[in-house]
């Protein structure tokens, strides 16, 4: 850490901020994503670890998780529990259509030096002013917005909850995320503030990392339309993350806005 701070300021910042994201990944693992019947239950595990779905590090916090029913009404997480290595909760799907389970965070990261001592802080935008001392030197502020969403369908899938809000980095799938089959490539789009997110990086990690030698990650870049075409190597569960950064901050002190979108999809055998 000390070495990094001695490095040129921009490099030090990039390392300090990108390290947590690269080393530990937020993940949610649904028991299934496509259900039949009049109603249905799913259970979801949520954790933070190097390999998605391998619960060997920390449980995810459940306080920011929201559930939305296909008609837009609020659902709820049930039987929540947070263990040492992973959290878990259930969702009762009581209406047909595609449900959304969303977590994520919006935070401000700041670093500065006081009397030659480096300081780092993370918190809500409104708390920034009071957190930074008046004699702080070399203040660097960045804004972070991460979404972590699951789509789960009872009956036939629909796209009502896939309407973008126009804020931050969003998922705009052309192929429905609950309609994936290994034999058919999927087209997924991404939007930043409602506009196509061209040239951003997408990382896809197949589940079952413990039972193979190589990570087998798929690295893709969105085209001019903000889309990628994913060819699934095999049926299974896949963790997908899009990341990018720009300077369109909402916090005046921040110079950089870092955006992340994470989802988990299930790819069925044909």
């Amino acid at each position: 850490m000390r070495k990094w701070l001695l490095a040129p300021a921009t490099l030090g910042l990039a390392l300090a901020l990108s390290t947590p994201a690269a080393a530990h990944r937020q993940w949610m693992l649904p028991s299934m994503t496509s259900l039949s019947g009049d109603d249905g239950w799913i259970t979801v595990d949520a954790g933070i670890s190097t390999d998605p779905f391998v619960a060997d590090h920390n449980a995810a916090r459940l306080d920011g998780i929201s559930v939305t029913a296909p008609d837009g009404s609020a659902g709820a997480i049930e039987n929540p529990s947070t263990g040492k290595l992973r959290s878990t909760f259930d969702v009762h799907l009581t209406k047909p259509g595609t449900w959304k389970i969303a977590g994520g965070m919006q935070a401000v990261f700041a670093s500065w030096t006081v009397d030659g001592q480096p300081k780092r802080w993370r918190g809500k935008p409104a708390e920034l002013a009071s957190a930074v001392p008046a004699n702080a030197a070399d203040l660097k502020v960045s804004e972070v917005q991460n979404r972590n969403e699951l789509f789960v369908t009872l009956g036939a899938p629909d796209t009502r909850l896939l309407t973008p809000s126009g804020k931050g980095l969003e998922f705009a799938p052309v192929t429905h995320p609950d309609d994936l089959v290994a034999s058919e490539p999927a087209t997924f789009g991404f939007l930043i503030d409602g506009k196509p997110a061209a040239g951003i990086e997408i990382t896809i990690v197949p589940g079952g990392r413990r039972y193979r030698d190589q990570p087998n990650e798929i690295a893709l870049k969105t085209d001019a339309k903000g889309q990628v075409v994913v060819k699934w190597p095999a049926p299974g569960v896949y963790w997908l993350q899009a990341t990018t950064s720009d300077d369109k901050t909402s916090v005046p002190q921040a110079r950089e806005r870092r955006l992340g979108y994470t989802t988990t999809v299930e790819v069925l055998a044909p």
Partner: protein, 163 residues
Amino acid sequence: MRFAATMALAGFAATPAAAATINVTVTIPTLKVAEYHRPYVATWIEGANGAATSLALWYDHDNRENGGTKWLADLRQWWRKAGRTLKVPADGLTGATRAPGPQKIAAAPKLAPGSYTLLVEAARENGGREVVRVPFQWPPKSAQTTQAKGSSELGAVALTVAP
């Protein structure tokens, strides 16, 4: 089902083109397993454009609280193509799971001329899943029987199309 076939036959005299029939024999194999449950079986037709027409669905249709529908998604290809948009139980389409042996389906579907595939998918509790496909042309010029065979969850599938 038999009544429907008779009706179709009656229609044959008046409008030959519209009355072509499909007869399917699906053989559910006898399996020597410790715990046997009759499979869920879906039979449907897919056109070249992927559009699906269901012919039959055999499942736990009279389960208390409609609980048998919970496992319909296990017929995962049928579920994706046709099942998830179908309201079950459906008249003339859904029925109870069938015993091992040959089981018959008769239909007179209204299909545009073209190439089609008959698909039979079976999924069994504590067992496997299998899909058997039989291609055919519509409308048939003469009566034709095409055979296919499953290897695990389905036995012989015979499709007879007749004008």
